[in-house]
């Protein structure tokens, strides 16, 4: 079981790390970006494989964790949060499901396609929801004068 976690953590670290190179993130920040992705995926893996949580909830939790770690790192490195969240989300992103959906439609398996389509949009919705919840929570706690700041909210 422990070895499992090491393998999953390492592999997701490398994928997030690789994507931060493809996205041209400054050199100093690619290792933290990789670690963000690895933490997110490991949370997802732990929830689905050992606690058998529903996929939707596990994805929300993982993306919340990613956003949380990214917020902390962004304050530490003084960069926009997107630098860490985008590569961090990569292992969780529903690209595979989107491809499977289109493939099923092309091959005439409409029902299977609809099934994959639902998975795609649910997963993407869960990712976006996790990020938004985190953004709202951070805004609540990081502002002393909450009511003076206006209501403009950017997730």
């Amino acid at each position: 079981m422990f070895l499992d976690f090491i393998i999953q953590f390492g592999s997701s670290f490398i994928t997030a790390f690789g994507f931060s190179i493809l996205y041209n993130i400054p050199r100093k920040k690619i290792i933290p970006a990789g670690i963000t992705g690895a933490i997110g995926w490991t949370v997802y893996f732990f929830l689905t494989a050992y606690l058998s949580t529903a996929d939707f909830l596990a994805t929300i939790t993982a993306s919340f964790t990613i956003a949380f770690v990214s917020q902390i790192l962004a304050r530490e490195f003084k960069t926009p949060v997107i630098i860490f969240t985008l590569p961090g989300l990569i292992p969780l992103v529903p690209g595979e499901a989107a491809y499977n959906m289109m493939r099923a439609f092309v091959e005439g398996q409409t029902v299977l396609g609809v099934e994959y389509g639902t998975v795609t949009f649910l997963t993407a919705g869960a990712l976006a929801l996790g990020l938004s919840i985190n953004g709202a929570v951070f805004q609540l706690f990081s502002s002393r004068d909450l009511f003076k700041r206006g209501t403009k909210y950017v997730p």
């Binding site: 393998i7 999953q8 390492g10 592999s11 997701s12 490398i14 994928t15 790390f17 690789g18 994507f19 190179i21 493809l22 996205y23 041209n24 993130i25 400054p26 050199r27 995926w41 960069t79 926009p80 997107i82 630098i83 985008l86 989300l89 990569i90 292992p91 992103v93 529903p94 690209g95 595979e96 989107a98 491809y99 499977n100 959906m101 289109m102 493939r103 099923a104 439609f105 092309v106 091959e107 795609t120 949009f121 993407a124 919705g125 990712l127 976006a128 929801l129 990020l131 938004s132 950017v154 997730p155």
Partner: protein, 251 residues
Amino acid sequence: MELLTSKVLDVCTGIGRLMLENGAETYRVEDTVYRVAVNYGMQGVSVFSVPTALIITVQGPTGEEYTRLHRITEQKSNLGVVAEANELSRRIAKTDLTPNEALLELDRLNRMESSYSPFEEFLAIAFICGFFAILFQGNLHDLVAAAITGSIGYMVFLYSKKLTNIRFFSELLGALTIGWAALILTNLSIGHDVNVIIVASIMTLVPGKAITNGIRDLMASHFISGVSVLADALLTAAAIGIGISTVLSFI
């Protein structure tokens, strides 16, 4: 048009264009451009942006309105530039950076090259595809095969994108290459499970980022950009799906 207002609009569209071209979400772009304009003392600022255009209207000191429209044609993912543009807007807010100095700075950012060599990017792609095979429960054979097919497919995609400006076509070519390479490698028994190899190799082409960003745009009530980003993502997914299922229909 007054000189100052014109310069401020130059800075605003410059920053907005830079961010949109390099893959920032539209709500972030609108927010940044709005802040920059307000910091230069413009009144009645409103900004609208979709992934392909940026419109900004401001009121000058004497009350006339000026509008600037900027069309965005390029699309890439360079988050380093997005971070720098963000930093620039922060500096405009904190210090008294004049519009002229900001324009000079924008000029430097425009000429900023990618900070990684093509070889490093190639290695990154090979590693991404290889280790995605592990995440999809593949074994070491799949890792090696996915690394090979993924990097070949991405190279074909990049090269054909330089030759044509139809992205659908280059994605289709990339997917076809990946399909064939995966089949050949499994027949040579370098790879083990053809499905794992294919799914892992297409991960660099697949529109996961676009789908998530589209939904985030929708949640931030930017409906037009959200829907258009999602349409773009569906088109990419269709190109990859068509390419792979064409190849798999031969076996």
